[in-house]
C-alpha cells in the first residue's frame, strides 16, 4: 500500500498563534509534515495565522497563506486552491477543530476535498466525551464515571450521586481551558458556569475523581494496513489532577511491570482501532490506581500532540513526519528509520537513558492569578533533559529552565511545606527537596503528594547525597567522587555552592581529574544498530560518541524554554541560522533544550546537542566540537547572558561583539554613545535604593518608566504616575536583584512607538522594517499591534529614523541583526532602546518583506558584506525593504486562563504569541489580525465606551463613525455625556459600583459586542477591572487603548466595505 497517486495537492492547517496549551510543538509537526509531503512530490498548501513559525516560511510550502483560521477564510483558500486533501492532524486542536467545521459544514464535500490523517467520524468519536465513553465500554476498557453536562442543575444532580471532588472539562477547548476540580458545591457552580460558556458546544464533562492515581501516556502510530506501534511511554511525575502539560513527565514509564505495561499497550492499540484512527499518531492517556492496578482510560488525541513532540525528541522517532507519510498511504514498514538507515520505521523505539520534561510557569506576570496547578494548563513553556539516570536528567532539566532560582532554600518557608506539598503548584518540586532536607520521610511526602515513591526516593537520595558532599574541600575530591557527582547530574555551579568555591574552580579541578563530559547518541534502538545522526546529549559515562569532524562549523545557541517575551520567534531565527549555514556550506551545530521546537529536530541542523543552555554545558560542547564560531544573537536573552562569559573563556563569538551588546544594555555607557551621536532619548537616571529612585523620579518629573537594567519581555516594568508606585517597585526590585541598578526614564505619554529591525555589516545598514505600533508608547512592544509599512509617520520622521538607525548600527559596530525602539512625540524621534541582536519581530518582518533576515545576518557573521548578499535582499544593501501589502502583527493574550487578572495592557509583556493579518489597507489587515488573535470585531450591535477625559474627543469621532455604520452606542455616564453633547444617541450604562443593570450585566447578557475601556493612567480601579475581566470571560472583544479603538473602527469599516480575500506569501513576494 504505497504512496497514494490519486491525490496531488494537500492543504495543511496550522495551529495559529502560540497560546498556553498550543505552542511550538505544532510548528514542529507542521514543518515536518510539509517537508515530508513535499519530499514525496506532493504540492503543499499551508494555512496558518502565525508568522513566527518556520512552517509559514515560503520555502516550506508551495503556497503559504498567513490568514485567519476561520471557516470563511479557509473556504476562500480552498476555493482558490482546490486541494485534493486536507491533512487535519498536525495543526493541534485548532487545526483539528477547523477541519471538523469545514467537513461538517459541507465545504470539503462541495470542493471535493478528502480529509486525511483522521476521518471525521474518528475525530468525533475521540473528542465527543459520550461517544468516547461508549467506544471504550465496547472494547472493555474502563473510563472514570462521568456525565456530560449542559447546565449547572445537571451538575448538582450528578454531584449528589457520585460525590466530590469532581473533575470538570469543557468540551473542545485548548489545553483544558475552563476546566477545574470542584471540591464542593460552590466550586462546582463557578467552574461549571465558566466551562459551559467557554466550550464552543456549551458542554462540560463532569468526571469521577481519580486524583492521586498514577498517570501515563502512550504515543501510538498506526497505518492503513493496521500495523501499529508504541513510540514511547511517558509517566507523569505528578499524579492525576494536574494537566499533563503542567506535569513533570518522564520517559519511559518507570514504575510499571511488563504485565501492566503490556496491558496498557493492548489498551492503547484497541483504542486506536475502535476510534478508527487509521493513519498517523495519537496519544492515549491512562490512570492507574497505585493500590490495585485498576486502569482507566483518561482521554485520547486523534492527532499529533504536545506529547508527540516530546516523544519524538525523547526517542529520535519523528512522529509528525511519519504521520504525514502514513496519511498519504504509506505503511510503517515502507518508511525507513533515518537514524539507523537499515531498519524500518515499523518498530518500537527503545531507549537507554531517561528523559524528563519540566514545565515553565510565569504566574509572576499575572498578579491576581492563584499559582495553583489544576486540570487547566497554565505553563507557558517547557524544557526536556536527557540523562543516563533519572536524577541526572532531572537536575539537567532544572537548570535548563533558567528560572534563576536554582533551588536556593532561602525562598522556601518551612511553615508552607504541608500546603505546598498537598496543593500542586509551580514550586512543589523545590518544596519536596526542602521537605527532605528538613527530615521528612518518603512516606510523609507520599502521603501529601501521591507522587510515586520511586520518584520521591530518587529525590530523597539526591538530597542525602548532596548533604554528604557538602562542606568538602575541593582539593580533597577524588576523580571517582567527582565523576559520581557529575553522574548524579550536579552542575559545577551547584558543586561550587556545596564546596564553598566557584564554578570555575570546580571546572578546573574536574578537568585536572580527567572528569569530562562525554556525549551519547539518541538512536531509537539503545545502540543495537549504528546511528548515522549526531543527535547527542551529555553524560559522564566512559565512552564519547560525539565523533566530531573537521569541517568548517558554527554552533548556534538556541533560546531554551518558551516564556513570555522569548518564544518561537527566536527559534525561527535559530532554525534559519542552521538552514543558512547549510546554504553557505558550513556545518551547523544546534544547542537547545526545548522539545517543542523545530530547532531540536535532528534534521534541522547537521548536529544537535539536546542540552541546557548553561555556561558549563555549552563549554562542554565547545570543548568537544571546537567550532569556528558561535552564534549567540539569535536565541533571545538566553544566549546573550552567556556571551561575555563565553568570550572570556576564549570562545569565538560571531557577529556583533558581546561587549557592544553589553554596552547597549548598560544605560550609562549607552547614554554616552547617544550623547556623542546627538541622538535624543527620554531623560533617565539609575538608582539602587528607594530614596535614590524617588529623587531621580522627582528630577525627571512624573510619569516615569521604572524597570530593571536587564530587560526580558518587560519583566517587572511599571509606569509610575506618583511616588508611591516608585517606592513599592523599588522595595520589590531590591529584594529580587539587590546588585542590579534600576532604570528610571521619563515616560513619554501618548507617543507613537516604532520598532526597527535592521542588518548591518559594520558599514552598510539595511533596514528590514519600520514598524509603527498601534498602541501608544508605554504598552510593551511585544503586546502592541504593529503595522508594516508605517501608516501615519511623516517622511521627515521616517528619514530621521533611518538616519538614527544607520548611525547607531555603525556606532555599536553591529555585525548582524539589530533592533531599535523609538518613540515619536510631537514629531520628535527619541531612542528608547537598542538591542544589537535578533528581535521578536524578525520573523514577522521576514514574512512581510520576503527577505529572510536571519539568513542575511548569518552571511554577514561568516564575513560577507551586504553588497555580496544582495541576491538575498532583493538587490538592496541599504535603505528600507519594501512591503507590498499592509501587514499587521497582533499579540495574543492568555487572560482567559488566569481568572481574576486584569487584561489591561501595560509595560509588562503578557502576550504568549502573535498573528499576522494581510490586507490591501490597514483596516483590512488589522481586522484579520484581530480575528486571528481571537478578537473578532462585530459588524453590528451595541458598542460600549468608557474612556478617560484625555480620550473623550477622539472617542466621539470613533463613535460617530460607528453610528454611521449602524452600530448602537452605550457608555458610562461621563463618556455618554460627551457623546450626547456631540449629538450622538447613546445608552447610559451604570458602572459596577453605581447600580444595576451595569456594564457587567450587559456583557453577560450578550448585549455588548465590543468594549472600549481605556485606563485612567495610574493604576486600574476595581470597577474597570471587573468590566474588562467580564469581557474576557464572556468573550467580548475588549480594547483598552484609544489607539487600539481607532484601529478597530478602521477594521470594522473595512470588513463592511472590502471583499473577503486572501494572499499567499509566494504571490506577495513574486
Amino acid at each position: 500500500m504505497p504512496r497514494r497517486n490519486d491525490i496531488h495537492r494537500i492543504l495543511i492547517i496550522g495551529s495559529g498563534p502560540i497560546v498556553i496549551g498550543q505552542a511550538c510543538e505544532f510548528d514542529y509537526s507542521g514543518t515536518q509534515a510539509c517537508k515530508a509531503l513535499r519530499a514525496d512530490g506532493y504540492e503543499v498548501i499551508l494555512m496558518n495565522s502565525n508568522p513566527a513559525t518556520i512552517m509559514t516560511d515560503p520555502d516550506l510550502a508551495d503556497r503559504t497563506y498567513i490568514e485567519p483560521l476561520t471557516v470563511e477564510y479557509a473556504e476562500e483558500v480552498i476555493r482558490r486552491e482546490r486541494p485534493d486533501a486536507l491533512l487535519s492532524t498536525v495543526g493541534g486542536q485548532t487545526g483539528l477543530n477547523l477541519s471538523v467545521e469545514l467537513a461538517e459544514r459541507g465545504i470539503l464535500d462541495r470542493y471535493g476535498v478528502e480529509l486525511i490523517g483522521a476521518k471525521l467520524e474518528a475525530i468525533k468519536k475521540a473528542e465527543d466525551r459520550l461517544l468516547f465513553k461508549d467506544a471504550m465500554r465496547k472494547i472493555g476498557l474502563e473510563v472514570p464515571q462521568s456525565r456530560l453536562l449542559t447546565s449547572v442543575e445537571e451538575g448538582l444532580e450528578f454531584a449528589a450521586k457520585i460525590g466530590y471532588p469532581l473533575i470538570l472539562r469543557p468540551s473542545f477547548t485548548l489545553g483544558g481551558t475552563g476546566g477545574g476540580i470542584a471540591y464542593n458545591r460552590e466550586d462546582l457552580i463557578e467552574i461549571l458556569q465558566r466551562g459551559l460558556d467557554l466550550s464552543p458546544v456549551h458542554e462540560v464533562l463532569a468526571e469521577e475523581s481519580v486524583l492521586g492515581w498514577k498517570e501515563f501516556e502512550l504515543e501510538v502510530m498506526r497505518d492503513l494496513a493496521g500495523n501499529a506501534i508504541i513510540v514511547c511511554s511517558i509517566e507523569n511525575f505528578d499524579p492525576m489532577g494536574v494537566h499533563t502539560g503542567d506535569s513533570i513527565t518522564v520517559a519511559p514509564a518507570q514504575t510499571l511491570t511488563d504485565r501492566e505495561y503490556q496491558m496498557m499497550r493492548d489498551g492503547a492499540l484497541a483504542v486506536l482501532r475502535e476510534i478508527g484512527v487509521d493513519t498517523g499518531g495519537s496519544n492515549v492517556q491512562f490512570a492507574i490506581n497505585p493500590e490495585n492496578g485498576r486502569m482507566v482510560v483518561v482521554e485520547m488525541n486523534p492527532r499529533v500532540s504536545r506529547s508527540s513532540a516530546l516523544a519524538s525528541k525523547a526517542t529520535g522517532f519523528p512522529i509528525a513526519k511519519i504521520a504525514a507519510k502514513l496519511a498519504v498511504g504509506y505503511r510503517l514498514d515502507e518508511i525507513r528509520n533515518d537514524i539507523t538507515r537499515v531498519t524500518p520505521a515499523c518498530f518500537e523505539p527503545t531507549i537507554d537513558y531517561v528523559v524528563v520534561k519540566i514545565p515553565r510557569w510565569q504566574f509572576e506576570k499575572f498578579p491576581g492569578a492563584e499559582p495553583v496547578l489544576t486540570t487547566q494548563m497554565k505553563s507557558v513553556g517547557e524544557v526536556m533533559a536527557i540523562g543516563r539516570t533519572f536524577r541526572q536528567a532531572l537536575n539537567k532539566g532544572l537548570r535548563a529552565l533558567e528560572t534563576g532560582k536554582a533551588s536556593s532554600p532561602a525562598v522556601l518557608r518551612e511553615d508552607l511545606i504541608t500546603q505546598k506539598l498537598i496543593t500542586p503548584n509551580p514550586d512543589r518540586l523545590s518544596y519536596i527537596r526542602f521537605a527532605f532536607e528538613r527530615g521528612y520521610t518518603v512516606d510523609d511526602v507520599y502521603e501529601m503528594t501521591k507522587i510515586d515513591p520511586w520518584f520521591l526516593r530518587q529525590i530523597d537520595e539526591g538530597v542525602r547525597y548532596e548533604k554528604q558532599l557538602e562542606g568538602r574541600e575541593l582539593a580533597t575530591i577524588t576523580a571517582a567522587e567527582m565523576k559520581q557527582a557529575k553522574r548524579d547530574g550536579l552542575s559545577d555551579a551547584r558543586l561550587a555552592r556545596l564546596w564553598n568555591t566557584t564554578a570555575e574552580a570546580v571546572r578546573a579541578r574536574r578537568k585536572e581529574l580527567g572528569v569530562a563530559a562525554v556525549f551519547n547518541r539518541v538512536d531509537t534502538c539503545a545502540a543495537e544498530f549504528e546511528s548515522f545522526t549526531p543527535y547527542l546529549y551529555s553524560s559522564y559515562e566512559d565512552e564519547c560518541e560525539a565523533d566530531p569532524d573537521n569541517r568548517r562549523k558554527v554552533m548556534i545557541l538556541g533560546s531554551g524554554p518558551n516564556r513570555i517575551g522569548q518564544g518561537i520567534e527566536f527559534d525561527y531565527c535559530c532554525v534559519h541560522a542552521a538552514f543558512a549555514l547549510r546554504d553557505f556550506g558550513v556545518e551547523s551545530i544546534m544547542v537547545n533544550c526545548n522539545p517543542e521546537t523545530v530547532s531540536t529536530d535532528y534534521d534541522t541542523s547537521d548536529r544537535l546537542y539536546f542540552e541546557p543552555l548553561t555556561l558549563e554545558e555549552v563549554l562542554n560542547i565547545y570543548d568537544r566540537e571546537k567550532p569556528d564560531g558561535v552564534i549567540i544573537q539569535f536565541g533571545g536573552q538566553t544566549p546573550l547572558n552567556l556571551a561575555l562569559p563565553l568570550k572570556r573563556a576564549g570562545v569565538p563569538i560571531l557577529g556583533t561583539d558581546p561587549e557592544s551588546i553589553d554596552l547597549a544594555e548598560d544605560r550609562k555607557l549607552f547614554g554616552r554613545v547617544l550623547d556623542e551621536l546627538g541622538i535624543p532619548a527620554p531623560p533617565y537616571g539609575t538608582a539602587t535604593s528607594v530614596e535614590e529612585a524617588v529623587a531621580v523620579a522627582r528630577r525627571l518629573g512624573f510619569p516615569v518608566l521604572v524597570r530593571p537594567s536587564y530587560v526580558l519581555g518587560g519583566r517587572a516594568m511599571v509606569i509610575a504616575y506618583e511616588e508611591d508606585t516608585v517606592r513599592r517597585y523599588m522595595q520589590e526590585a531590591t529584594l529580587y536583584a539587590p546588585d542590579r541598578p534600576v532604570l528610571i526614564d521619563r515616560f513619554l505619554e501618548d507617543a507613537v512607538e516604532v520598532d526597527v529591525d535592521a542588518i548591518s555589516d559594520g558599514e552598510d545598514v539595511l533596514i528590514g522594517g519600520i514598524m509603527e505600533h498601534i498602541e501608544e508608547a508605554g504598552i510593551h512592544s511585544g503586546d502592541s499591534s504593529c503595522v508594516l509599512p508605517p501608516q501615519s509617520l511623516s517622511d521627515g520622521v521616517l528619514s530621521v529614523i533611518q538616519d538614527y538607525t544607520v548611525r547607531l548600527a555603525r556606532a555599536l559596530r553591529v555585525r548582524g541583526l539589530m533592533n531599535v525602539q523609538y518613540a515619536i512625540k510631537d514629531g520628535q524621534v527619541f531612542v528608547l532602546e537598542v538591542n544589537p541582536r535578533a528581535s521578536r519581530t524578525v520573523p514577522y518582518v521576514s514574512k512581510a518583506t520576503g527577505v529572510r533576515l536571519p539568513k542575511v545576518a548569518v552571511g554577514i557573521m561568516l564575513g560577507q558584506k551586504l553588497k555580496d548578499l544582495a541576491h538575498l535582499t532583493g538587490g538592496r544593501a541599504s535603505g528600507v525593504l519594501p512591503v507590498k501589502q499592509v501587514c499587521v502583527k497582533s499579540p495574543v493574550f492568555p487572560f482567559s486562563k488566569f481568572p481574576g487578572v486584569d487584561p489591561a495592557l501595560g509595560p509588562e509583556m503578557r502576550s504568549t504569541g502573535e498573528v499576522m493579518g494581510v490586507g490591501e489597507n490597514f483596516g483590512e489587515a488589522f481586522g484579520k489580525a484581530q480575528l486571528s488573535a481571537g478578537v473578532p470585531l462585530p459588524s453590528e450591535g451595541m458598542i460600549f465606551f468608557s474612556v478617560n477625559d484625555r480620550h473623550k474627543s477622539e472617542a466621539v469621532q470613533l463613535a460617530r463613525r460607528l453610528a454611521a455604520l449602524g452600530f448602537q452606542l452605550a457608555a458610562t455616564r461621563g463618556t455618554a455625556a460627551a457623546f450626547r453633547a456631540a449629538g450622538l444617541a447613546v445608552k447610559t450604562v451604570f458602572k459596577v459600583n453605581e447600580g444595576r443593570p451595569n456594564a457587567v450585566d450587559l456583557i453577560k447578557d450578550g448585549r455588548l459586542k465590543l468594549v472600549v475601556y481605556t485606563t485612567t493612567g495610574a493604576h486600574s480601579f476595581s470597577d474597570e477591572r471587573a468590566i474588562r475581566r467580564s469581557a474576557v470571560t464572556w468573550r467580548v472583544p475588549c480594547i483598552t487603548t484609544i489607539a487600539g479603538a481607532r484601529a478597530a473602527v478602521d477594521a470594522i469599516e473595512s470588513r463592511l466595505r472590502d471583499p473577503l480575500r486572501v494572499w499567499n506569501l509566494q504571490q506577495m513576494h513574486a
Binding site: 511491570t257 489498551g267 515499523c346 520511586w454 559515562e541
Partner: protein
C-alpha cells in the same frame, strides 16, 4: 558500604562497578537485551542459560519482583550487568526487591557500568565471553576465566535445563490486575505434549488458555513415547544455545513430522528447521529485545515481536517446494517463521507468548489449535 564488582571480557576489556545480588563469580556469553520492561521475565527465562545479560535500560529493579512474573522456578541468567540497579522498588505487585530475587539464587549483579559502551562493543565485535565477579576476583583472573569459558556454538545447554520428570500443566493465563484482559480463549479440548528444552511458563499458560492439557516431557523423550500419549499436537519449546548439538531431539522430531501437528518456538523452530533438512548459523550478537518488527507474509501485517536467540535458520538451506517461509525479520531479513506446505507443522523464531513483550503474535496459539482441529478431522 558498596562492594566492588568487575566484569571482564575475553578481549581484555574490564568494567568496574558496584556489586549487588549474590557474592559470586560467573562466566558466560555476554549478550544485551534492549527491553525497557520485563527484567524479571528475562532473569527467569531458561534460554539465557550460559549467558551474562546486559540490560540496556539504565534503571533496573524499579518495580521489584513478584511471584507471578517468573518464567521458570528460578533465575537462569548467569549474571546481570546494568547501569543503575534499584533496590527500593515501587509497585503494588512487588513482593521483594530485584536484588533479593537474584541473591536468593546466587546470581551476581554489577551496577554502575556504562552499559551502552559495552553494547556498542558487542555490536561491533560480536557476542563475547565474559566473567563477572562480586567476590573480589582480580581483573586478570576474570579475563582468564572469560577466555576459558567454552563458546556457545556446539554447546548442548538444553539437556542441562530440561525437566528431569514428565509433568502436567493446566494453569491458563490469569489477569494480573482488575483491568487486564486475557486475549486467548479456549478453542477446544486438546492434549499437547511439550518438549522442554528450557520452556517458558508463559508458553504453557498460553497453551492451557486455548484449551490444552499439556504434558511437559524431557528433551530426550523418544518420539514413540510422545505418540503413545496420543497427543493432538506436539509443542517444541524455546531453549538456550546452539541447536546443532541437539542431534537426538532432531532425530525424534523428524519421526514426529507428519504424524502429529507440531508447533515450535525459538529453539523449537531451529530444531524443526534442522529436522526438515535445513542448517542453522550463529548471529553476530543475536536478537534480544521486545521491539523487533516481523512481517507475516500470509497476512502482510507487521508484528512487534519478542526475540531471544543467538542462532538462526538459514532460509536458503530449506527446500522451498516443501517449506513455506511465513515470517521475516524486517531489521535484518533473517527468517522468523516457516510452515510445511503439506504437513501439519509451523514454527516461529520469536516468542508469541511474549512475557516480557507485546502480545501482537498470540494468534499463533490459536493457529495451533486450528491446526490440531483440522488434523483431527
Amino acid at each position: 558500604m558498596s562492594r566492588p564488582a568487575i566484569l571482564a571480557l575475553e578481549d581484555g576489556t574490564v568494567f568496574h562497578g558496584v556489586a549487588f545480588g549474590a557474592e559470586a563469580v560467573r562466566t558466560g556469553e555476554v549478550v544485551f537485551n534492549t527491553a525497557i520492561t520485563g527484567y524479571q521475565e528475562v532473569f527467569t527465562d531458561p534460554s539465557y542459560t550460559g549467558q551474562i545479560v546486559v540490560l540496556t535500560y539504565p534503571h533496573i529493579g524499579n518495580y521489584g519482583a513478584n511471584e507471578s512474573d517468573s518464567e521458570a522456578e528460578r533465575p537462569y541468567i548467569e549474571g546481570l550487568v546494568v547501569r543503575d540497579f534499584n533496590v527500593t522498588p515501587s509497585n503494588w505487585r512487588a513482593r521483594m526487591t530485584a536484588d533479593e530475587f537474584l541473591r536468593r539464587d546466587g546470581i551476581p549483579v554489577i551496577s554502575g557500568v556504562d552499559a551502552r559502551a559495552l553494547v556498542r562493543k558487542i555490536r561491533t565485535q560480536g557476542a563475547m565471553r565474559g566473567a563477572l565477579s562480586t567476590a573480589g576476583h582480580s581483573a586478570e583472573e576474570l579475563i582468564e576465566m572469560a577466555r576459558r569459558t567454552p563458546p556457545m556454538a556446539g554447546l548442548d545447554l538444553a539437556s542441562r535445563v530440561t525437566t528431569a520428570q514428565r509433568y502436567e500443566w493446566t494453569q491458563p493465563l490469569e489477569p494480573c490486575s482488575p483491568s487486564e484482559h486475557v486475549s486467548l480463549q479456549p478453542l477446544g479440548s486438546f492434549r499437547v505434549v511439550a518438549y522442554d528444552f528450557g520452556i517458558k511458563r508463559n508458553i504453557l499458560r498460553c497453551l492451557a488458555s486455548i484449551g490444552a492439557r499439556v504434558t511437559v516431557v524431557p528433551a530426550s523423550t523418544p518420539a514413540e513415547d510422545v505418540l503413545a500419549l496420543k497427543p493432538d499436537g506436539v509443542f517444541l519449546s524455546n531453549g538456550p544455545g546452539d541447536p546443532e548439538p541437539l542431534t537426538g531431539p532432531v532425530a525424534e522430531i523428524r519421526k514426529l513430522i507428519g504424524r502429529v501437528p507440531i508447533f515450535g518456538i525459538c529453539l523449537g523452530h531451529q530444531l524443526l528447521g534442522l529436522a526438515l533438512g535445513g542448517r542453522t548459523f550463529k548471529l553476530k550478537f543475536g536478537h534480544h529485545g521486545i521491539n523487533h518488527p516481523v512481517l507475516n507474509y500470509r497476512t502482510n501485517r507487521v508484528e512487534i515481536t519478542v526475540q531471544n536467540h543467538g542462532f538462526a535458520v538459514d532460509p536458503d538451506s530449506l527446500n522451498a517446494r516443501e517449506v513455506e517461509l511465513t515470517h521475516v525479520n524486517l531489521n535484518d531479513q533473517t527468517l522468523e517463521g516457516l510452515r510445511h506446505r503439506s504437513l501439519p507443522l509451523f514454527c516461529v523464531q520469536y516468542h508469541p507468548e511474549a512475557a516480557a513483550g507485546p502480545h501482537d503474535s498470540r494468534y499463533l496459539f490459536e493457529d495451533f489449535a486450528a491446526l490440531m482441529k483440522e488434523f483431527h478431522q
